[in-house]
């Protein structure tokens, strides 16, 4: 499987993260998104006329929507990431999988504006991002009351991976995560998963590493 990838793109990171969590080895083809705008060049446009990345290529199959990529990786290598199939859980999973687009449009837009100088109305993008974060926070509070740590069930699913990157990187776009305790706990739960990988802007959970010898100790 070949991923056309930009290291700073949260959508590309979703796919890298899902692959790491399900143990799929990806062939990475680095795309010069910034400063080169290679995703708008002829080679990439031939694969994806929409001119966006990530693009996932597996034989004849070409995927250009990250939600489909997550679903494909899960179906192939980790069906437990697609949920148990129970009606309510399936509905929640689809709900948050669709909701992730709003995070991309709002928090993702704010981040591109603040970091890579892309055009946009920053005030509106940030306000929409805050509205989306509040919905996510409320959803996680309710899941917590039901005894579940993740968006669709008590174990992580593709919906969590679809929402996590743009949320975790919200501060890059000038939207702080300080006011959202449930989101902070959820984010920590995802970062603590076995085989979790980081991306720039999401730091390693150093608390997982054991303390080394204290000064003065033998």
């Amino acid at each position: 499987m070949k991923l056309y990838d930009y290291v700073l793109s949260p959508s590309c990171y979703k796919v890298r993260l899902m692959a790491a969590l399900t143990g799929v080895k990806l062939e990475i083809r680095a795309v010069d998104f910034h400063p080169g705008a290679e995703h708008r060049g002829p080679e990439l446009m031939a694969l994806n006329p929409a001119g966006s990345i990530p693009i996932l290529e597996d034989g004849d199959l070409i995927l250009t929507e990250s939600a489909a990529m997550l679903t494909y990786l899960a179906a192939k290598a980790g069906p437990e990431w697609l949920g148990s199939g129970a009606p309510e859980e399936t509905a929640r999973l689809q709900q948050w999988l669709s909701f992730a687009h709003r995070l991309t449009a709002s928090l993702g837009g704010a981040r591109l504006h603040e970091m890579l100088l892309r055009p946009g109305d920053i005030g509106t993008l940030q306000a929409q991002g805050i509205a989306a974060l509040r919905e996510l926070e409320a959803g996680l509070v309710e899941q917590g009351l039901r005894g579940m740590r993740f968006l669709a069930s008590d174990r992580p699913t593709v919906a969590d991976i679809a929402c996590f990157p743009y949320v975790a990187l919200a501060p890059d776009g000038g939207v702080p995560l300080d006011p959202y305790p449930a989101i902070r706990l959820w984010s920590r739960a995802i970062r603590s998963l076995d085989n979790f990988i980081e991306m720039p802007g999401i730091h390693r959970l150093h608390e997982l590493k054991r303390e080394h010898v204290e000064p003065g100790e033998v």
């Binding site: 930009y6 400063p35 890579l116 150093h206």
Partner: protein, 281 residues
């Protein structure tokens, strides 16, 4: 407060390869400016009041100044050495003081915690003594014999090595790093951080590199350096105060911070204070 001393310095204001006749609207030290490259290939920088500003094109970037630069842009002789790959990494905006951005670049002690498993890793956290001086002839801050254990020092490195660094501050918002070059022992890779001060607490950062590396595709080199800098960005946006404190009582340096101490003293002595906080508040 006067910022005269920094007004007369050269600053990066755009990537030459990315510019055309459509002006890039940007800012320099709080003033709006426009940067364009004319059809015949000359770079042009204009201030908001229509004044033509000084221009030079060097190290992949267009440089300009609001004042009257007293000398040419600093030299990086390695930039003209045959066989090097020159890498335009592109702009990244950071909500921090331009001086904080440079100081972070001069720091190695954060590698294990911020660039984990790339430029550093616990338990290899110790910073050994190194040498710091202000070279009087060129009036530059230099740190030499800086050594640190790195799990993946460069895109071309495989496995951990003890890397040697030299740091050089030739201008208040520019820093040149010379670093052990894995494919070519005896030579130094050159990695720079050119910072465009937009305001005292806002900057556009333009990393640039001159490397000996024929093996790694250009895009991978760009992504490696963008990765490193983006790991720093969330630190830089969360330091308090946002301006760099030049009052020695404000922050606590250790032996590992000698480069930063020398840099702050040098800034203070030259009245390079755009982006600095002189008195604790």
């Amino acid at each position: 407060m006067t910022h005269d001393a920094m007004i007369d310095e050269w600053y990066p204001v755009g990537l030459f390869s990315q510019l055309d006749t459509n002006a890039r609207k940007t800012a320099l030290m709080g003033r709006p400016i426009e940067v364009a490259v004319e059809a015949e290939g000359h770079a042009r920088v204009t201030s908001g009041d229509g004044r033509s500003l000084p221009v030079c094109v060097r190290y992949g970037h267009v440089w300009s100044s609001l004042g009257k630069p007293q000398k040419d842009l600093f030299a990086i002789p390695e930039a003209d050495q045959p066989g090097r790959t020159l890498v335009d990494v592109g702009v990244i905006r950071v909500r921090c003081s331009p001086l904080r951005a440079v100081e972070n670049f001069l720091d190695i002690a954060h590698f294990p915690f911020v660039h984990t498993d790339i430029l550093g890793a616990e338990p290899h956290t110790e910073v050994q003594d190194y040498k710091v001086e202000v070279r009087q002839d060129a009036d530059e801050v230099w740190a030499t014999q800086v050594k640190f254990y790195q799990p993946q020092a460069a895109k071309s490195a495989s496995g951990g090595i003890t890397t040697e660094y030299m740091y050089r501050v030739p201008a208040p918002t520019c820093c040149v790093l010379y670093k052990t070059c894995p494919p070519r022992p005896g030579e130094w890779d050159v990695i720079t951080l050119f910072v465009q001060p937009l305001a005292e607490d806002l900057c556009d950062v333009w990393p640039w590199m001159a490397l000996f590396d024929d093996a790694t595709p250009m895009t991978d080199l760009i992504h490696f350096q963008q990765t490193i800098f983006l790991q720093d960005r969330s630190i830089l946006e969360n330091q308090i105060p946002r301006l760099l404190p030049l009052d020695p009582g404000m922050e606590i340096p250790t032996r590992a911070d000698l480069t930063s101490v020398a840099y702050r003293r040098w800034l203070k002595r030259h009245n390079y204070t755009y982006g600095a906080q002189l008195v604790a508040q």
